[in-house]
Symmetry: C2
């Protein structure tokens, strides 16, 4: 959360609102136009007159590049700064971008008196320039209309929407996912469900299809619906059956019909309210209905909040296997409310925590240490712990997704730590015996133990991991499971190419290493030591 960047057309109040925000946050205020004038010693009209717009834009870009290196600043940008893609990317990657808007008439009234607006020579030009720049003002975090509002009011509204009512109150966590075509925001905030309309992107159509399962929709449907209606959305609910069985082509066909009945058109969103199954299914429908409509994820399980709702993998199963049909289709926003976890069965929270442990082990010793210290408060679902932990997992996954959106280059592969043995155990024991996260916990323990066996990892760390998983209430042994069944499933895992079994192992906390080929004897010895039978 480095900076607040205000963009928007001239006369929308960027400077006055920016000064107000800076005062409230006690952050420095920077106006890039003023910086250009200071550096060149010339007024902006003079720069345009004598050196032309190109020169101004170049100077402006240099200053933006320098300013964006700083942190915790409120930055008001020139009205045309967003035209350059490089500027937009800098704003995006180094701050929360807020767009101020106003009616063309209001803008004209505000700027007509001044003679320092070189691009504006008449009322009709306001509308024309506004239309030309419309596109550049779209991809922002928040949009506010300042037409008939004082800067104080606008500043107060912005801080309320960000959840920063008072200085230092960072109860909203915002993670930006930067992708080449369409980036989006992940918002993590306790209670966000009842304020959903504030966090939806500005350009959505008003008709909304909410896809959920029976259980989740009866728990949270009413809150979501009244929040949507507050934002003047017209939601329709379509329920699907609970469980993996719903991820099926015939259900997709039903959901196309539901989309038609709900009047969904190209800009109308489909919202997934539920766990991974609902997210995968609703996401695939959103990806393919009318060649793609906006998709919003509101994940309600821990596993969906820290993993499956982020990254754009959507799809359904075929009788021959899971996720054989699908797309990479990014949501337009992910809204995560950690308080929703309170309605989950404790077993599901525990299972979900296995993935959190995985993020800590593979990517972040800090997260791992935090878990060791605070796992009991997490299990008690204290939002002061769940919120930052979930947000950190989102951040870690986002970093991988940004580098490898479509799983082409192997970066996302590290997310499979513990998953190959986990999947094999799931299959060997028959689906349904273990929850996915429970099998992953066993896989994590096995991967750590294998790392010790191969001389990579200090045995103390294996003991600590085992201890943490057990404190969570996750089993780390393989009693009652057949070694050969696990090994056989390991070979036929779809990730195993050409009979080689790639293993992600650990050298230390946060130090994963990929082993292309682990000898069968060592794998079976590990499975045996962890309690699997013949």
């Amino acid at each position: 959360m480095n900076n607040i960047v205000l963009v928007g057309f001239m006369g929308t109040g960027k400077s006055s609102v920016g000064q107000e925000l800076a005062r409230r946050l006690q952050w420095p205020f920077i106006d890039t136009d003023a910086e250009v004038e200071r550096e060149t010693g010339l007024s902006i009209p003079d720069i345009f007159r004598h050196y032309g717009e190109g020169y101004f834009r170049k100077k402006e870009q240099d200053i933006i590049q320098r300013v964006m290196q700083g942190k915790r600043q409120v930055i008001a940008t020139g009205g045309g700064a967003v035209i350059k893609k490089e500027n937009r990317q800098l704003f995006r990657s180094h701050g929360i971008v807020i767009c101020l808007r106003a009616d063309p008439e209001v803008i004209w009234d505000r700027v007509r008196e001044k003679d320092d607006r070189p691009l504006l020579q008449g009322r009709e030009q306001v509308a024309k320039l506004l239309a030309e720049r419309e596109l550049f003002y779209r991809d922002v975090d928040l949009t506010l209309d300042t037409s008939h509002k004082a800067p104080e009011e606008v500043g107060r509204t912005i801080l309320a929407q960000l959840g920063w009512q008072k200085k230092g109150d960072f109860s909203l966590q915002l993670i930006r996912v930067n992708l080449p075509i369409a980036g989006y925001n992940i918002f993590v905030r306790p209670g966000i469900l009842s304020r959903v309309a504030l966090y939806l992107p500005g350009e959505l159509g008003k008709r909304v299809l909410v896809i959920s399962d029976n259980k989740v929709s009866s728990l949270y449907g009413p809150v979501l619906f009244s929040a949507l209606k507050e934002g003047n959305y017209q939601p329709t609910l379509k329920r699907v059956a609970e469980g993996e069985g719903a991820k099926e082509l015939s259900v997709v066909a039903d959901l196309y019909q539901a989309s038609l009945s709900a009047g969904i058109e190209r800009h109308c969103p489909i919202i997934a309210l539920g766990g991974g199954v609902v997210g995968d299914l609703a996401g695939f429908v959103a990806a393919t209905f009318m060649r793609g409509v906006p998709f919003i994820q509101i994940p309600t399980t821990l596993l969906a909040q820290v993993d499956s709702s982020i990254g754009g993998k959507v799809g359904v199963n075929l009788p021959q296997g899971k996720n054989l049909v699908g797309s990479f289709y990014q949501p337009r926003a992910v809204l995560i409310d950690p308080t929703l976890l309170q309605s989950l069965p404790p077993r599901e929270v525990r299972a979900g925590l296995a993935e959190v442990v995985k993020y800590g082990l593979v990517f972040s010793p800090e997260l791992y240490h935090l878990l060791e210290r605070e796992v009991d408060r997490f299990l008690a679902l204290d939002p002061h712990i769940t919120t930052p932990v979930i947000a950190e997992c989102c951040r870690l996954k986002t970093a991988l997704v940004e580098r490898d959106e479509r799983e082409e280059y192997g970066h996302r592969m590290l997310l499979n730590f513990g998953h190959n043995i986990g999947h094999a155990v799931e299959r060997a024991s028959g689906y349904g015996t273990f929850r996915h996260g429970e099998a992953v916990a066993i896989g994590i323990a096995a991967a750590c133990y294998l790392s010790v066996k191969l001389g990579l990892l200090n045995p103390d760390i294996f003991d600590r991991v085992k201890g943490l998983l057990e404190r969570i209430g996750l089993s780390t042994h393989l009693y009652g499971i057949n070694i050969n069944a696990v090994y056989g499933n390991l070979i036929y895992d779809k990730k195993a190419r050409e009979q080689k079994i790639p293993f992600i192992l650990l050298k230390d906390l946060g130090k994963p290493v990929i082993f292309e080929d682990v000898p069968r004897e060592i794998i079976t010895a590990v499975l045996k030591d962890l309690g699997a039978g013949k």
Copy 2:
């Protein structure tokens, strides 16, 4: 067709092959490494030693930027030039990019004797660097292995594959589609069907699913299969029924099963061999099977060759309407063989020509004039006319697709010239009475006449357009069609937002203009004048 750019690892023969190509084409030869040495007055080892790799890369990039402004040059690049994205984009947009490869042992033998390779200090480094750069060498137009070949042989092979056997023989037309994520090539060449394997991208898996209909597969399946087998591909054929009825979810489900049976995995391509229906259907399967597998279009109808195979719109119908389910999913290559048109019923060629007339009217007076001059030779399917005309249509559509891949900004809307009245006529007359292109021809005539009525277009041009359409054998009147039925369907066309009927009209050849709201009286008067009844 500006330049030939040779990329590839050191020791793959870029300089010697480049000189050979330059000799044969009588184009200048430029070696970017030599340019760097010339400009700096230093040898490359000296630059690395005294100034570091960063300095060298910067100099190299400057030179590439300058050199790529030229045309008709053979350019050999340094082995690491492809690392910079900016360089790759320049190569792509200003030339045909050819990658030379060689076995690591051959490379080592070629370079070990020299002391001017600063990055290479041992045999094992060849393999390591090769692996690191693998990714950068992928997205090219042609790849050739030079391991045990003389430069003369490699040069000859390249020119043969490009179809430039002798200087000036440009019987291959290559259109590059530049898109932010994955660009691709459109090849237009008489006889390309029997040489398909030469034109497929290098990184595809060997198992291939060919989707076609009964009629097309019996005509062209055998040629395609033997061409694929020559390239060591293992093709499987899956037939679908002929006609629009096949664009249906249950057929998609069948095709997923066929993909599984054919052993299609993530890198194995699905090839569409057929017209628009087969392309839309196979493309949707490719877009969604295993979250997307490579897709190759081999369009066999004129309409598919000039329009539907380009642009990435794939999908199927729902009972409520056409193309309600689908994606934007770009092919990895489009291979167009104009000789395939010979097996089409003449009526289909005539109908397809309506879209070609559209391209000429809206985007290219040159194309329109060429059609007026050579329409008879086109109807006789002379490849000397069909090849450049089809390629020009592909170029025009590509330019729109590049600017607006997902139909977000309205650029692609101009492609609907003649289509709103066309669709309305199709619907008012019951699908099946007119072929799509025949209805579009009526729509084109109506749009031109409307343009005249509104005082935009010179009546002489309307007469010429009517004359050209009639020479093609396309009707331009509305006898037997009910005015109110057409008007009603015009209002309910899905492109009509908020009851406004946007019309694309003409001010002149190549000068389209969008009218947001044409009065009902004028539309009905035009329909009446064109022969529609009450």
